[in-house]
């Protein structure tokens, strides 16, 4: 199907002048377990089609599920990290509906007895304020297979003549995290939505439960949105926008839906309760299936699985494994490193916190660590469409390299300009900083005789400038230093050169 045309939207400010948005987010996270939720099949991404399937995850007649212990532990740890209560007794339930990529035609999920419920996550906004997102629940379920739509326009379901299904993904553990409806966000709704997903992503990453790669679908976001007229407290009819799979899209989708709902409401129309599809390329949503009474999932307790009843001791033992919350850790590190708010924000946005932490721990100064990881390498990583940690890993450049580079500077072997050249060499794969310095013959000249000779030569060649310095215009020495450094082919300590110039001209 060709792209549907965009529906009418009201400008954002206009929409918010008349309506208050009510926002809800449902995030599905694929756990990074070795095996699927209910069978022992591997979960490796990108495996040959239908090579990681068994009677259980293919839904063959007779097969039965058995719960992955690690899946339950991860769910409880996520719940605890989201400040949830953990159910002392809960069950899986079957969500019944037919779909070709769902092998049993029911999803094994949880219904009215989620493993975790009633939590919250504090989200920091750009202006430094904090918004508390209330968490309704986090529950365990399983992923579906993947369909390749053939015929029609490539990869699209509409117009396809048939579909080819790979069930490798079917049964991979998912945790669905559902917020309570967020009210009072006003014009900050798009930002809050994005910040929530980003904060959640960092938290899940810190927990080590998922690789949270939105681009690979291991973290997927649905945006529920409705508007209510200002001064009303009755929620409007909501739309559910599916598969909003980047941080930027989360923000855009919320903004778009606010405008779209407002356009409908302000013209006296009624919003349809429906599923919407987000189009990353055009930045709009289009109507999907209408929610009707046909949507009857006939949930009931899964009779093939027994209840999950974690003891208080189990829960406390899992609580003890929780890492420091990312926000608290960032605060602690910022103060330890002495970074300004702006510097810290840049570091966080560039995903450099872990790398800098490692580098400082390995012995570098916080300033040095930040300088080397955010300079040239950041530019190159950006050109390569990657982030610094990923790019550095691909080049085999490590925190130890930064520590070594910095010690070459502080030890007096290299000046800053030389250190930059050495870093270029390291990034080019020429070896460790010492090896690069050796190979390129980079070393500060320690011989003051040679330096004095160069100073004398430059002073003689620039009598006017020299006179200015003698007359007390010390800043004019800069021009002489540059020439001395040139004379020394860069291999001199600029501070030493400056001292010698001043000594020569002021005595």
């Amino acid at each position: 199907m060709s792209q549907a045309t965009a529906e009418a939207t009201l400008p954002f400010e206009e929409a918010l002048a008349a309506y208050d948005p009510v926002l809800g987010l449902e995030v599905h996270v694929e756990l990074g377990t070795n095996t699927k939720m209910f069978c022992g099949c591997a979960t490796a991404f990108g495996a040959e089609p239908n090579s990681q399937v068994c009677p259980v995850c293919l839904g063959l007649p007779g097969a039965l599920p058995v719960v992955n212990e690690k899946g339950v532990e991860s769910a409880i740890r996520i719940g605890l990290a989201l400040n949830c209560e953990i159910a002392s007794w809960c069950r899986f339930a079957r969500k019944n509906y037919f779909y070709p990529d769902m092998p049993k035609n029911f999803q094994t999920s949880q219904y009215d007895e989620p493993i975790a419920f009633n939590g919250h996550l504090d989200v920091e906004l750009a202006d430094g304020s904090t918004y508390r997102v209330e968490i309704e629940r986090a529950h365990m379920e399983e992923d579906t297979g993947k369909s390749l739509h053939v015929g029609g326009s490539t990869g699209r379901i509409h117009g396809a003549t048939h579909s080819l299904v790979d069930y490798n993904r079917a049964g991979i553990p998912l945790i669905e995290i559902v917020t309570k409806p967020m009210t009072g966000a006003g014009e900050r709704a798009p930002e809050i939505a994005k910040a929530y997903v980003a904060t959640l992503r960092d938290l899940l990453k810190a927990l080590g439960v998922s690789d949270v790669k939105m681009e690979q679908g291991s973290m997927r976001c649905d945006v529920n949105l409705s508007l209510m007229p200002k001064d009303s407290t009755t929620f409007g009819i909501r739309s559910e926008t599916k598969n909003v799979n980047s941080l930027r899209s989360v923000e855009r989708a919320v903004r778009y839906e606010i405008g779209r709902h407002a356009a409908i409401l302000s013209s006296g129309g009624k919003v349809t309760q429906e599923t919407r599809h987000w189009h990353e390329d055009t930045g709009i949503t289009t109507a999907g299936r209408e929610k009707s009474d046909a949507e009857d999932y006939r949930y009931f307790p899964e009779p093939d699985l027994v209840p999950v009843a974690p003891s208080a001791e189990t829960v406390e033992a899992l609580r003890a494994t929780l890492p420091e919350p990312p926000a608290a850790r960032r605060k602690r590190l910022q103060s330890a490193w002495g970074y300004s708010d702006l510097e810290m924000r840049d570091v966080v946005n560039a995903a450099l916190v872990d790398l800098i932490d490692e580098t400082v721990t390995a012995g570098a100064s916080p300033a040095g660590a930040r300088k080397w990881w955010s300079g040239e390498i950041a530019r190159r990583a950006n050109d390569a469409g990657s982030d610094v940690p990923t790019y550095a890993a691909s080049l085999a450049v490590t925190p130890a390299h930064v520590v070594e580079l910095e010690s070459l500077v502080t030890g007096g072997r290299l000046n800053d300009a030389m250190a930059r050249q050495v870093w270029d060499g390291v990034l080019a794969g020429e070896g460790t900083p010492t090896a690069v310095a050796d190979a390129r013959g980079l070393e500060l000249v320690q011989d003051t005789g040679a330096l004095q000779a160069a100073v004398d030569k430059v002073i003689a060649a620039n009598p006017d400038v020299a006179q200015k310095v003698r007359d007390g215009k010390v800043q004019a020495a800069g021009a002489l230093i540059g020439q001395v450094m040139k004379e020394m082919k860069g291999q001199a300590d600029a501070a030493a050169a400056r001292q010698l110039i001043l000594d020569s001209l002021t005595n």
């Binding site: 069978c39 089609p49 719960v67 007794w89 739509h149 299904v165 046909a294 009857d296 307790p301 699985l305």
Partner: protein
Amino acid sequence: MRMSELTRADVAHLAGLARIELSDDELDKMVGELGIILESVATVQNAPIDDVAPMSHPMPLVNVTRPDEVRPSLSPEAALSGAPEQDQQRFSVPRILDED
């Protein structure tokens, strides 16, 4: 409520939910039969069940799990051996109407 109130439209709706394409004759027959059965099973509501906890499992087991260790999967050939149609090592299915 009396279950025999189940109408032909109700049965057609249920058959749709259950993905069974019933013919008109089948529908007619089913409405009558289900009416009788439903009236009989509705007697569960007459049992003294106030304050009784529902029982979903016959045995009171809890926390049955397995370690997160990989077990051999089927070969793709075995996995696809029953497929009505297959292509490119995948199950070939008719066009799907809409994404969920």
